[in-house]
């Protein structure tokens, strides 16, 4: 009987089978940030177990509130910073070198096909774009991961979402994943892995695949996962070139883990995007999704472009293409947060930041801040935000605020109009399809 990619990863990382269908897996990487890790550190210290299983496999970053906004967040930063130094965790990224965790860790080449990765953050599922098993976990799982390098999971069950068709103009990975979440529902993939396959995924860049996998958790998924291919090899090549004779050899090695043709799935969903229009959320659940056209005219107070979903260079390029030579609406304030220092720098060099600034955007340093209403763009009661982030929960970006999730292109067009609208760059053809 054939196996899925997740089943193959489980088989190769199995340490124990303590009960029922529970497997304890060996971890290849444990990622840490300053919000969920300090409690784990404090608890390990208080138990007299302040140790790490392997400092080279632990990566840490300060990203959620960066720079610190008050004494508490400064203390959280201090705890993880001192812990990283103490345990010789060399891959620790402090302000000035940091970035949103799910953008900077792939950028550094820390995620490889076939890896097991955990982090105390639900959007860890992003890293499945590389063909890794990468579930978000809580602080206790993180703590055991740090100490022992293992984590327990139910044996994986997988839903395959096969994405086919021709991608219409103005439709991006964000529109596709919003349409998938609408179809599956917010708990349609609970306790399951979502395998994204098909010609549309095959053609996607790694950045787009990360956007796709990033929101798997919004359908309840344990993680998203894509098959490694030459796009994966090209992205990782600078980090793996010493390990393989050439790119073909790397690809051959990675291909061994992709799902067998006779693998067993819980469900296979055929998702044709040929007639898909740009999508936007309404309400307070990420599966409350409709075409932008149906929300057209909804006035907004703030636009936010950034986050682990859509703060990558590709996203900023698309938004800048829409914004070039234009001004944002007088009644709107707009914020862009390039997701890492590298992306910030690159967008500066490419002239993208100038376009944003000329349009009237506030450009901030890399941080998660506004996405979860912690800093750098929190909403007031009754305010509405057009956002490229991942959650439209009640109060998510500030108590009493409303969030509409959308692609960077739609967010940029919305900033110019002052109300939810489609990118003017892309023709009206999409409405007639």
């Amino acid at each position: 009987m054939g196996k899925t990619i997740a089943e193959k990863i489980f088989d190769s990382h199995r340490v124990d089978n303590p009960a029922d269908d529970i497997l304890v897996l060996k971890l290849d990487a444990v990622f840490c940030h300053e919000i969920t890790t300090p409690f784990a550190i404090d608890d390990l210290v208080s138990r007299g177990k302040d140790r790490v299983f392997d400092p080279a496999k632990i990566k840490a970053v300060i990203d959620h509130v960066s720079p610190a906004k008050d004494s508490n967040t400064a203390t959280q930063g201090k705890i993880i910073r001192e812990w990283a130094i103490h345990h010789k965790i060399h891959d620790f990224f402090d302000i000035g070198r940091n970035g949103v965790c799910h953008v900077i860790f792939p950028e550094k080449g820390f995620v490889r096909p076939g890896y097991t990765v955990i982090m105390g953050d639900s959007h860890t599922c992003t890293h499945g774009a590389f063909g890794a098993f990468a579930p978000g976990v809580g602080t206790t799982d993180l703590e055991v991961g740090i100490l022992k390098g293992v984590c327990a999971f139910h044996y994986p069950r997988t839903i395959k979402v096969n994405i086919t068709g021709k991608t219409p103009d103005g439709v991006f990975a964000k529109d596709i994943i919003l349409s998938v979440i609408m179809r599956l529902g917010v708990n349609g993939a609970t306790n399951k892995i979502i395998e994204f396959t098909g010609p549309v995924v095959d053609k996607m860049s790694m950045e787009a695949r990360m956007t796709l996998c990033n929101m798997a958790v919004e359908a309840g998924g344990t993680c998203g996962i894509c098959y490694p291919d030459m796009t994966t090899v090209d992205y990782l090549w600078e980090f793996i070139q010493d390990e393989y004779e050439n790119k073909t050899a790397a690809l051959e090695s990675f291909k061994k883990i992709i799902s067998d043709p006779d693998a067993i799935y819980d469900d296979v969903v055929e998702h044709d995007i040929t007639r898909l229009a740009p999508q936007v959320t309404f309400g307070y659940r990420p599966d409350n999704v409709k075409p932008v056209k149906e929300m057209e005219g909804t006035t907004i107070d703030q636009v936010y472009i950034g986050s682990c979903t859509n703060g990558r260079i590709e996203d900023l390029r698309v938004a800048a293409k829409v914004l070039k030579g234009k001004k944002i609406n007088d009644n709107v304030r707009a914020i862009v947060s390039p997701a890492t220092q590298k992306i910030h720098h690159q967008s500066l060099k490419e002239g993208i930041l100038e376009i944003f600034m000329d349009a009237g955007f506030c450009v901030t340093n890399p941080t998660c801040g506004a996405c979860l209403g912690m800093s750098n763009g929190v909403l007031a009661k009754g305010e509405v935000c057009a956002s490229t982030t991942n959650r439209n929960f009640n109060g998510r970006m500030g108590k009493g605020g409303m969030v509409h999730l959308m692609s960077p292109a739609t967010a940029a067009a919305t900033a110019i109009a002052g109300y939810i609208t489609n990118s003017q760059l892309y023709t009206n053809e999409r409405y007639t399809k």
């Binding site: 959620h64 055991v144 307070y284």
Partner: protein, 174 residues
């Protein structure tokens, strides 16, 4: 082992996310006790007043997909410091459910019709629940009414509850 019996708080809604259980602005807290006054502060639920309705409750009964969204273990901790160690629902988000058992607490799923029956029989009444972990039963009691409800959790979940959590379990074993 923690206490899994006491008065029931009914939360009659599905998809209650961890941002509603404990908003992100409190994630800068340095101690679990600091979360105590903010439990369910931002929940969208008509007629629910977190200031009054949480006090004296030890068990939550709710509908589907409880604890979806952020992985924050602050959600179970906010329940724990309010002496709520048991949540019963039709279903849970994976990370929240695991976080509960990882802390030696319980998130127990019951069939849809059983949850419906419990809501129609007991919602709005002062109801007490007693948990019997040997027999795997809940006993719900209100004035003149009583109902025994069987439940099942896995051998592994039982082991985590008995150990007091995943760290205790894993530290002894791996």
């Amino acid at each position: 082992m923690k206490n899994f019996s006491g008065n029931i708080l009914f939360l009659d809604r599905s998809d209650i996310n961890t941002d509603e259980i404990i908003p992100a602005k409190y994630l800068t807290a340095i101690s679990k006790d600091a979360l105590k006054p903010h439990l369910l502060e931002d929940i969208r639920l008509d007629g629910f007043d977190p200031q009054k309705d949480i006090k004296g409750k030890n068990v939550i009964i709710t509908r589907t997909n409880f604890g979806c969204g952020s992985s924050r273990e602050h959600a179970p901790w906010a329940l724990e410091v309010n002496d709520i160690h048991l949540v019963i629902a039709k279903s849970f988000a994976r990370i929240f459910r695991q976080n509960m058992f990882n802390n030696g607490m319980m998130a127990v799923g019951l069939p849809s019709h059983v949850i419906e029956d419990i809501f129609s029989m007991f919602k709005g009444k002062n109801t007490k629940l007693e948990t019997d972990l040997d027999k795997n039963t809940f006993l719900l009691k209100t004035n003149g009414q009583e109902q025994e409800v069987p439940f099942s959790i896995s051998e592994f979940d039982h082991a985590l509850v008995a150990a007091g959590g995943w760290l205790e379990y894993a530290d002894a074993k791996y």
